[in-house]
């Protein structure tokens, strides 16, 4: 009996924590005024928000029924894919030049997003004119 009470409270705390972090992530997304800084709030705060929700789901399933570890898989996929979507959005920002121009790399010619293949250079200058 007492185990179930502890479980209920643990689930409630996890849900509240997750909801709080998700809320902060959304506030950050709305508050910042530049597309690159906006990227920071959802990528990090969102990850731990969803992490807490999944933890709550796991505790609930272990305390009240047979238990499941599907959530570990969701968390694993989330941690692997979140940086990639962030990277794609950042690349789009650089490509459209909708952010401050990044400093040039010290050893190489340019950043790979800004690098235009030789065959396409003529097309690009034509498009800029």
């Amino acid at each position: 009996m007492s185990m179930q009470i502890i479980g209920t409270y643990a689930v409630a705390v996890c849900l509240l924590l997750g909801a709080g972090f998700a809320l902060v992530g959304t506030i950050g997304l709305l508050k910042f005024n530049d597309s690159m800084t906006r990227l920071h709030a959802p990528t990090k705060v969102g990850t731990i928000g969803i992490g807490s929700f999944l933890l709550a789901s796991m505790i609930h399933s272990y305390v009240f029924s047979e238990g499941s570890f599907h959530e570990l898989l969701i968390m694993g996929f989330l941690f692997v894919t979140a940086p990639i979507s962030a990277n794609f959005i950042a690349k789009v920002n650089i490509h459209k030049r909708s952010c401050d121009t990044p400093p040039m790399p010290p050893r190489d010619d340019t950043w790979s997003t800004l690098n235009v293949p030789l065959a396409d250079r003529a097309l690009e200058t034509k498009a800029q004119e």
């Binding site: 972090f21 690159m36 800084t37 570890f69 898989l73 690349k91 990044p102 050893r107 790979s112």
Partner: protein
């Protein structure tokens, strides 16, 4: 013997990973599931080996586990830090910056792990790689000292990754 092993397991770590994912998907840990997971791991790696001709280098699993724990801890700290910045810093006082991190790592797998780690940890997002792969472009949400952030990334994560991917 080693040749037979290589023929059966072109990517041993991928086989293990696929078997673990299969067991997590089935949500049960029984002998039958382990065997079927390993069979799947072998069949999938064998049939897709054509597109993965190079074997990735060996990694030190023990150090990788330590690294994962450090990163998990950093993710939690990072979340609280970023949440604090979001709630308390007005936009006018925010100082975002670009940072260029010169890379000593050469393996693509190691650079991918480093870029992922940077995105998941304190106020930094990895944005781009230079065209020859010698430096990484990182965006920082708020910093007073960009050089300190760069040294922190190099010292805390890259040094450890160099020891993992030998």
């Amino acid at each position: 013997m080693t040749r037979a092993f290589r023929w059966l397991f072109p990517h041993p770590l991928l086989t293990v990973l696929l078997a673990v994912i299969w067991m997590l998907l089935q949500n049960e840990l029984s002998a039958g599931m382990v065997v079927f997971g390993i069979i799947l791991g072998i069949v999938i790696t064998k049939t897709t080996a054509v597109w993965w001709p190079e074997r990735p280098g060996n990694i030190r699993v023990g150090r990788m586990v330590v690294y994962c724990l450090i990163v998990l801890w950093d993710i939690m700290v990072a979340n609280v830090e970023v949440a604090w910045i979001v709630l308390t810093k007005p936009n006018s006082k925010l100082r975002p910056a670009w940072i260029v991190v010169p890379l000593d790592l050469v393996q693509p797998e190691a650079i991918t792990v480093l870029a992922g780690t940077i995105t998941l940890t304190p106020g930094t997002v990895s944005a781009d790689l230079s065209d020859e792969g010698h430096s990484l472009l990182v965006h920082v949400l708020h910093t007073d000292d960009p050089d300190a952030v760069r040294d922190d990334i190099k010292h805390r994560y890259e040094r450890r990754l160099k020891e993992i991917f030998v």
